[in-house]
Symmetry: C2
Subunit: 192 residues, 2 copies
């Protein structure tokens, strides 16, 4: 009886995964859940662009006619959880060896380092789509590895050994703050 | 002897003031100072836009051909200072009565309220260009006033009575963290 609906749902899901936006969508859903339940205020930053030409048709309807993407100088996500500053970058890779560092800008690694020095909580969320595994890795562990090993790809074993796996759930979809709470907040409890 | 140079400098300054970008520039200079001196990591967020059409000339040279400005759902500035989350909005007004609330979106006030509830430090920096006075006002004080008084303009007297005046200096240009440190960090010292 319910076949048509079910089929629609499934094909939507498949489509969606193929667009490679899965992780971003999961994180937006999760951040919405945190916001609506007064747990944390964490947003994705807008894409940085340089605007060259704007057509002011009227006072309200300005149309940007020429603009360029800028190299981001910070990470995509930041916000506040229990008064603490939270900052992270999220990336997906199909790579089966590990996480290719070409996927992250040097400015962003430098930014994560600055956040750590200013006392913030900094990490990355990396999804390996080939293995259907998503890891939260602390920025300090990843930066240490990168500085010492000088490799172009951080092997998946590094994430399996040093990261925290994030299981997908119904709601919140990717409960990364439970990891932060357990390992990076000095023993405070995470109440929901 | 130095006339030509001096004239150039001054006319640049005048021009610049006329563009109404003075406060944004002062804050960017200040945030740069904080970053370079390892005091805090605070950035202005990119302008939020909706991209409709992109021309991919080549893999690196994408040109945005049609995009629109979005109403911002958060404030312009956020970051980390001594581990704490800092969030603020900055506005300039020529108005001689006070700060017209039409200058700030309801979403942004709601966002400041959420930040306070999540334990962050939230405030506004308002410059009254007609008086050459710049105030830091705590978000909780301003939100209280707005909720109780139901006025369209917050009178300048409110800022003079409840805000902290920010004096322009050479470097850092507008040292707003000295106010945060003194009044909102529970007595920690602000070392430079």
């Amino acid at each position: 009886m319910n076949y048509p609906n079910n089929i629609k749902k499934d094909s939507y899901k498949i489509n969606y995964g193929n667009r490679g936006m899965g992780l971003e969508r999961d994180l937006n859903d999760t951040n919405n859940y945190y916001l609506l339940n007064n747990i944390a205020v964490i947003h994705k930053k807008p894409t940085p662009i340089t605007i060259v030409s704007v057509d002011y048709k009227s006072r309200v309807d300005a149309v940007i006619k020429e603009a360029y993407f800028k190299t981001p100088s910070t990470t995509d996500y930041n916000g506040v959880y229990k008064g603490k500053y939270i900052d992270f970058e999220a990336k997906e890779t199909k790579n089966k060896q590990g996480f290719p560092l070409i996927n992250i800008h040097e400015h962003q690694l430098k930014h994560l380092d600055c956040v750590l020095k200013a006392g913030g909580i900094a990490f990355l969320i990396i999804r390996f789509t080939s293995f259907n595994e998503t890891y939260l890795i602390s920025a300090s562990k990843l930066l240490n590895y990168i500085n010492n090993e000088k490799k172009k790809t951080v092997p998946i074993k590094f994430f399996r050994d040093n990261g925290h796996i994030l299981k997908e759930r119904y709601n919140p979809r990717l409960d990364y703050l439970s990891i932060i709470n357990e390992f990076y907040m000095e023993g405070e409890t995470y109440e929901r």
